[in-house]
């Protein structure tokens, strides 16, 4: 095989591998809907599509061995019919449909019309827009520093919150990441009683605040307060922050003129479309 053919095959393989990775779907929401005695009951699965794209509704009819299947059901998303009774019978194992949920507040209504004992496993699948670290769970709250499994300098719980809450605004995500650092550092430096470092954190907070006001002028203090609440989610983190506040008492902190607030960003927000 000559080198050109090898290169072509390699490129084809890499292209396939990239495509496979890009198309990998994750479970956004799932619920098991069982049939019941009496009149069919409509049940709801509520979910947010924030942070995902290319959604697919996947319905598994009964168990994998072919038992517990239902012969009729109705599935609708936000009032729009996705699957009708005619789509189901005892021979149908799985059904898949592309769907287009809203970023937030979706209602998937499922009505199972079958004898008791049957069930549907309904999954909403989506391709994650961002490659995010997993939810650290309680381990993320065990230390002041938290868990940073991908080593990018941001606590995993905060990184996930920023990206999943604001998937549609790159500049706001960046402004919040800039804001994250002084707030998180204040916890550490406050606990260390490092007054000089806390002052530097406070000065950095002035700049990140100016940036946030430039990027998101519509009530940015609310967004920042929610970020602050999430960063200070444990008693020890709150105590470290209190210590920082005590060290800052009596300090005066100067802002830069409003016309230069854009320059307070450590990125160029005007280069971003959203």
């Amino acid at each position: 095989m000559n080198q050109a053919v090898k290169l072509l095959l390699w490129l084809l393989f890499m292209g396939f591998a990239w495509t496979s990775q890009a198309m990998e779907l994750q479970v956004v929401a799932e619920q098991r809907f069982a049939s019941s005695q009496g009149e069919p009951v409509t049940q709801e699965l509520l979910f947010n599509g924030s942070g995902f794209a290319d959604f697919v509704l996947k319905v598994q009819n009964g168990s994998a061995d072919g038992t517990q299947r239902v012969s009729s059901a109705l599935v609708s998303l936000n009032g729009v019919k996705i699957l009708a009774p005619a789509d189901f019978n005892q021979n149908v194992q799985t059904l898949e449909r592309s769907i287009a949920p809203l970023p937030a507040g979706n209602s998937l209504a499922v009505t199972v019309r079958s004898n008791p004992g049957g069930f549907l496993l309904v999954q909403v699948l989506g391709a994650p827009i961002f490659q995010l670290p997993p939810d650290p769970g309680p381990a993320g709250d065990a230390t002041l520093e938290g868990v940073d499994s991908n080593g990018n300098g941001i606590r995993d719980d905060i990184e996930r919150w920023i990206y999943l809450t604001y998937p549609d605004s790159e500049k706001l995500r960046r402004a919040l990441i800039q804001e994250y650092y002084p707030l998180q550092n204040m916890i550490i430096h406050g606990q260390q009683q490092n007054r000089d470092a806390v002052y530097d954190d406070m000065i950095a907070l002035q700049r990140s605040s100016e940036c946030l006001y430039y990027v998101y002028p519509d009530r940015p203090h609310k967004v920042s307060a929610e970020l602050e609440a999430r960063i200070l989610n444990t008693d020890q983190r709150t105590y470290g922050y209190f210590e920082a506040s005590r060290l800052l008492g009596g300090g005066t902190f100067q802002g830069v003129p409003m016309s230069k607030w854009k320059n307070s960003c450590n990125f160029n927000p005007d280069e971003m479309k959203n």
Binding site: A204, Y213, P220, E226, D235, G250, N266
Partner: protein, 406 residues
């Protein structure tokens, strides 16, 4: 993925630096300084957001020239945040995030929390809510700005008014005979019975925190504005949501601030002002000296008042200070390191030196414990306070960093 990681790496690198800003020719303009004194239950983040929001509103609605109006935060730490958090923890098993959402008005707090917060807000002697060390630093900053020839307006919110009133009293009685006609106050949601210097006040008639304070202190100024619009803060006390965004209180604050500030006199400069100023104060021991080593090695202190870049204003040998070191012009400013130190020259007991360093837009405070007097033996190697790093040149401007001991 790679681009995102690259961005995050860059963000980390950038965030690890102290932000630096150019010193500009505007040092020579007449300036009005507006200091915002934060209220009770304010974290450092809430206080910062409040004064930025205030600045934005005032600049837009007042059409203020950028170079002539400077906005600063005079931060005071609220000791009540700790006990209210303790109460929260005793009653509530939830994440600490819930506490911050309740205290910042992001979600409605239950009755028991609201009652406890209001009880803590009104408990104790109002005068004892002012921390001496915090107040001393504020006063030093106001005094420096006044002496440099700028007008000073302090806009206090809630507890910030207690600091502002106390600062006014101290400055009015200062031995340097300060130009108090250039210093004014505007009080928002004040728990106090007065606004020092006769400034205006704005208090909502339904402010629950001030109502609670007035229950114990009948002299607390009465509410004088009622909004028609609603606000998200259950206390009706938040500077942004309850006051600045109020349909009546917001315009009232803006007009009061502009009217008060524009009515202040321009003081005659008593000292130099410029890209660097260092202020030393101390207690009742007779003599602590300020020392600065300039980038070219010049040692500025009581025996050599004039340096290459700057100068020491005088040598105080009768307690308290202040002593100032100034670099008053970008013409004499030099790139390099300015090393700031203090020497405990004469005294019989341990002393504490307070040093405030302003370099460009950066202001930092240091507290240095001095165990015993060193006399002239300490001149060559004074106690280190901080280094001011200056980078740049007269054409492209200068940037500053200030770093020192804890």
């Amino acid at each position: 993925m790679f681009k995102r990681n690259l961005f995050i790496l860059l963000a980390m690198i950038l965030s690890s630096f102290t932000f630096e800003y150019e010193a500009s020719a505007s040092f020579c303009n007449k300036k009005t300084y507006v200091f915002y004194g934060n209220g009770m239950f304010n974290s450092e983040n809430t206080a910062t957001k409040s004064y930025k929001y205030f600045e934005g509103k005032l600049r837009v609605e007042g059409g203020l020239p950028e170079d002539e109006w400077i906005f600063d935060l005079s931060y005071n730490h609220d000791e009540r945040l700790f006990p209210i958090f303790q109460v929260f923890r005793q009653r509530q098993g939830e994440s600490a995030s819930t506490f911050w959402r309740w205290i910042n008005g992001l979600s409605l707090a239950p009755d028991w929390f609201r009652e406890k917060a209001l009880e803590l807000a009104s408990r104790g002697d109002l005068n004892q809510m002012v921390g001496d060390a915090d107040l001393r630093r504020h006063v030093q900053r106001y005094k420096t700005v006044l002496m440099e020839g700028s007008r000073v307006l302090v806009v206090g919110h809630s507890q910030g008014n207690l600091y502002a009133n106390s600062a006014y009293t101290i400055l009015a009685n200062d031995s340097d005979d300060l130009p108090m006609e250039a210093f004014g106050l505007v009080a928002v949601a004040t728990p106090s019975s007065l606004v020092a210097g006769g400034g205006p006040h704005i208090t909502r008639t339904d402010d629950l925190v001030i109502d609670a304070v007035r229950f114990f202190y009948s002299g607390t100024l009465r509410g004088n504005v009622t909004n028609d619009n609603t606000d998200s803060d259950w206390k009706h006390h938040s500077f942004i949501d309850s006051y600045l965004d109020g349909d009546r209180s917001g315009p009232m604050i803006i007009s009061s601030v502009l009217s008060k500030a524009n009515g202040l006199n321009w003081p005659t400069p008593m000292v130099g002002s410029g890209p660097i100023s260092v202020t030393l104060t101390w207690g009742d021991q007779p003599d602590v000296d300020l020392h600065v080593f300039e980038p070219d090695g010049s040692h500025v202190y009581y025996a050599a008042l004039q340096g290459t870049s700057g100068y020491l204003d005088y040598d105080d040998v009768t307690s308290f200070g202040p002593e100032h070191y100034y670099v008053v012009s970008c013409d004499t400013l030099a790139a390099g390191t300015y090393r700031v130190g203090v020497n405990y020259y004469r005294g019989s007991a341990p002393e504490t030196a307070s040093v405030q360093i302003q370099a460009g837009d950066i202001i930092k405070d240091y507290s240095i414990s001095l165990s015993q007097a060193e006399g002239s033996a300490g001149n060559a190697n004074p106690e280190s306070v901080a280094n001011v790093e200056v980078v740049g040149d007269p054409v492209n401007g200068y940037t500053f960093t200030v770093g020192g001991q804890n």
